[in-house]
């Protein structure tokens, strides 16, 4: 049931660029995140992105490399792991951020308070591409 690289492999970097569009179009998700304004770092393999959250809405994602930029927390995983995570029916171990952490493929760093205080929202932001029609 897992991601099959031979069939329309998802493109993690294109997916990240679409995050604001996907999140901002989901009124329920924006409402759940209305108490959160922060910037977090999302790493897809060696490529880093800054995701800016303002009252539950996302500003355009910035792509690194970055030299002197601040973020509160970072979520890092290899591109292959994110591709598995973003498939509509992910396999066990790739279906949740903490599952990927336990599997040893994802890392979370920095100030965890914004993540833990808004975990429902942020998990749904990260998983938004899973619910979206394929693109890119």
């Amino acid at each position: 049931m897992g991601y099959d690289a031979a069939v329309s492999p998802p493109q993690p970097e294109a997916i990240v660029a679409r995050l604001p569009e996907l999140v901002n179009a989901d009124a329920g998700l924006v409402r759940r995140g209305q108490g959160l304004t922060t910037t977090f770092l999302l790493a897809v393999g060696d490529t880093e992105y800054l995701v800016h959250v303002a009252g539950g809405r996302l500003a355009p994602v910035e792509r690194g490399p970055f030299l002197l930029r601040s973020w509160t927390f970072a979520v890092r995983a290899p591109g292959d792991a994110w591709a598995r995570f973003w498939t509509p029916l992910p396999e066990p171990g790739y279906h949740d951020l903490f599952a990927m952490k336990k599997l040893g493929v994802a890392r979370v760093e920095g100030d965890l308070w914004p993540l833990m205080a808004h975990l429902r929202y942020l998990k749904d932001v990260l998983a938004a591409p899973r619910r979206a029609p394929a693109s890119g």
Binding site: P92, G93, M116, A117, K123
Partner: protein, 278 residues
């Protein structure tokens, strides 16, 4: 039907809420940490089950409709193995249940292993869902679950969401999470004391004698808290333990996806009816 029992537990009076449905040998259902007996509501409305079984589910003290004992405000709640076993046996005694089947999930599955060790003669059969003698922790700081600057219910609910399989229907997925969001302050964390600190049974799980009481272990493939491998390792050490890995299910099979779960549970209940000594 729901009502209350007055039980002395740990030498203190408690008022414990439970619900029941059906007729037949008793089937006592034990909910997960930080949740309550509503997790079993679909079993109680399943005629294939209630026509053969008297299904009972209590809310542990501090969970659901069971209030904490007087004086709770000055205590840090920590569930212990001894208190949990006492609760199950006291509940069974108070209702005069004759050798019930105990079916427990997560901490309820873990305590089923303790019951198999401590009181197998008291049970017709034991069913552990998402149960293992030991599971590797997936978070190392449970203080997140109870602090002033994070909503405990929202966090517990969000953490648990990952343990639900992606195949779960939206309605029952979010219903499962609602129960977590309703947990009292520090209750989930207190339950995990039993699960994480006292719940390592690796030094004694091989003493379970399934000839005295049949043991069934069922674990969902998407459960990364108690993984299929954790349960496999436990089953491998208990001769006669019956192992099932449930496809498309996670850590809350009975509430996250009742329709799928019953396809796994019904054959187990049928087997118990056919083979367990009356």
């Amino acid at each position: 039907m729901g009502r209350y029992l007055h039980l002395p537990l740990g030498g203190r009076p408690h008022r414990v809420y439970f619900e029941e449905a059906g007729q037949g040998p008793p089937l006592v259902c034990l909910h997960t940490a930080g949740a309550d007996g509503r997790q079993f509501r679909h079993l109680m409305t399943d005629e294939a089950i209630t026509r053969h079984w008297r299904v009972l589910a209590f809310d542990m003290p501090r969970h659901g409709k069971s209030l904490p004992p007087a004086g709770w405000q000055d205590e840090e709640y920590r569930l212990t193995t001894a208190a949990y076993v006492e609760l199950i046996l006291a509940f069974s005694d108070a209702l005069g249940l004759d050798r019930p089947v105990a079916l427990g999930c997560s901490i309820g599955g873990k305590i089923v292993l303790e019951l198999a060790l401590r009181a197998p003669q008291r049970f017709r059969a034991l069913i552990g869902l998402e149960a293992a003698a030991y599971q590797t922790p997936w978070y190392d700081d449970t203080s997140w679950l109870h602090r002033h600057d994070v909503h405990g219910g929202e966090l517990c609910s969000a953490l648990m969401s990952g343990l639900i399989a992606p195949q779960a229907p939206e309605e029952t997925r979010w219903e499962t999470l609602w129960m977590y969001a309703q947990g009292g302050p520090g209750v989930f964390r207190g339950d995990l004391h039993f699960y994480r600190v006292e719940g390592d049974l690796r030094d004694r799980v091989d003493r379970i004698d399934t000839a005295r009481c049949p043991l069934y272990l069922l674990t969902g493939e998407y459960d990364f808290s108690c993984t299929p491998d954790d349960t496999r390792a436990t089953a491998a050490r208990i001769p006669g333990a019956r192992l099932t890995i449930m496809q498309g299910l996670g850590h809350f099979p009975m509430s996250e996806h009742p329709e799928r779960f019953r396809t796994y549970l019904l054959p187990v209940l049928e087997e118990i009816r056919a083979t367990a000594s009356p």
